[in-house]
């Protein structure tokens, strides 16, 4: 059983630092061999999880949720009231979505999600978090210089648009609902979902009109 002993944890960190190879691939290979030999997992099981998170569980899921909210006002209401529950309609609940909240962009509000203390992310609807989301640069700057961060992502906001930054410090997770691009009345739900970028659901993308122009 785990000990909840902080001194011990520090010592183990130091021992691992001293004794493990510095090359990540070698460290992970040793870890996998050991856990398999100890009967705790198998290569096939690891493969299955990787495939699940490569093919099925990813931002495509979030995009389907967003598209539905654009075409179905009743679903939109349910999503805004309780996103954790609303995504069960898709069977998308899972890791880190038990307390999912949706926050909506408007003409005057732009939302941006970060986790300054670690890298909390709604895995089950957005998949593996991009590396930038987990960097010290994004985590430190998103709460202090959100407009500078957005500029680097190519998002230029007018001064009259307020930025709302959501720092995921509890078990709540945030999903940004981007604005539906103009001129997309003729698109169906599936086509609309293809316009929704991963970054737009984190908040580092805003204007999906350029996506819409390419697609329509």
């Amino acid at each position: 059983m785990t000990t909840f002993d902080e001194k011990k944890a520090v010592e183990i960190h130091q021992a691992l630092h001293s004794h493990l190879p510095s090359e990540p691939a070698l460290r992970v290979k040793a870890l996998e061999s050991l856990l398999i030999e100890k009967g705790l997992t198998t290569s096939e099981t690891i493969d299955a999880w990787i495939e699940a998170y490569s093919e099925e569980i990813g931002p495509k899921r979030g995009a389907l949720i967003i598209a539905r909210s654009w075409v179905d006002p009743e679903f939109k209401k349910r999503l805004m009231a309780d996103a954790a529950k609303a995504i069960e309609e898709f069977g998308f609940e899972g890791k880190a979505t038990g307390h999912l909240k949706a926050v909506e962009n408007t003409d005057k509000i732009h939302n941006l999600v970060v986790c300054t203390l670690c890298s909390c992310y709604p895995f089950s609807i957005l998949g593996i978090a991009p590396t930038w989301y987990k960097t010290a640069a994004y985590r430190s700057r998103a709460v202090r210089d959100p407009r500078g961060v957005l500029n680097e992502f190519g998002v230029m906001l007018n001064d009259d648009i307020k930025v709302c930054v959501w720092d995921s410090t509890a078990e709540l997770r945030y999903l940004v609902v981007p604005q539906r691009p103009s001129g997309t009345d003729n698109l169906n739900e599936k086509e609309l979902a293809e316009l929704v970028t991963r970054n737009s659901m984190i908040g580092t993308d805003r204007d999906l009109n350029s996506q819409a122009k390419v697609k329509s």
Binding site: E6, A15, L34, E44, I50, Y53, E55, G94
Partner: protein
């Protein structure tokens, strides 16, 4: 813990690599880390104790090692702490105990179903009435728990306003010690201009989810 992980508002970092490939994994070992993490774990662990272990990563490693590598190293700490394996075994990749029967394989569909079933809730009943209602002004504590806490340094001793109330949730400061304490959780809205000296003209808002014992008033 006033550790290297508490990055909100720290200066000197950047720029951000905005041209990263969109694939979920950029290296084969990253994918393996994820698959290993999804399929194994130390018994009796809490999310808060895991995060605290991660916060105790050697600061130089925290800043310089690839993210999922450092993340995986925290998993290894839990395995050693729980006597599931030793540092030596992790260094060699070979078990020092007799070989056990292989674990069962699972399919992708089973992984998807396991993922779906892994949704967890952290709200718990509480007999105490919430001290605040939406719209109340609060001031966060300057002091925190000495160990794990989820009150980031950049919002300590700062004025904010209750934006939302979420019922009582498990308090991370207790969870990191293996204790279950349910405490009222709120989303607090902080004005950027109350947090950052250079933001005096800003109307931007930073929302942070904070527990009731994180407030002074």
């Amino acid at each position: 813990m006033d550790g290297i992980h508490d990055l909100g508002g720290k200066q000197g970092f950047g720029p951000i690599n905005v041209t990263e490939p969109t694939e979920p994994f950029h290296e084969e070992w990253e994918a393996r880390v994820w698959g290993i993490s999804c399929s194994t774990g130390a018994p009796g662990i809490t999310i808060d104790w895991w995060r605290y272990i991660r916060e105790m990563t050697i600061p130089e490693d925290y800043l310089t090692r690839p993210y999922l590598d450092s993340w995986s190293e925290s998993d290894m700490v839990t395995l050693v702490d729980s006597n599931i394996c030793t540092v030596e075994e992790l260094a060699t990749g070979k078990s020092n105990t007799p070989r056990l029967e292989d674990a069962n394989n699972i399919t992708v569909d089973q992984a998807l179903e396991a993922n779906r079933m892994s949704s967890r809730r952290f709200d718990r009943p509480s007999n105490a009435d919430p001290k605040y209602i939406v719209g109340n002004d609060v001031v966060t504590c300057q002091f925190t728990s000495t160990g794990h806490t989820r009150l980031p340094a950049y919002v300590r001793g700062k004025p904010g306003k209750v934006y939302a109330y979420h019922g009582a949730h498990l308090l991370p400061d207790a969870g990191a010690k293996g204790e279950e304490i349910a405490e009222h959780l709120y989303t607090i809205a902080f004005n950027a201009c109350d947090l950052w000296p250079e933001a005096h003209d800003s109307n931007d808002i930073i929302f942070v989810d904070l527990w009731e014992s994180y407030f002074d008033n």
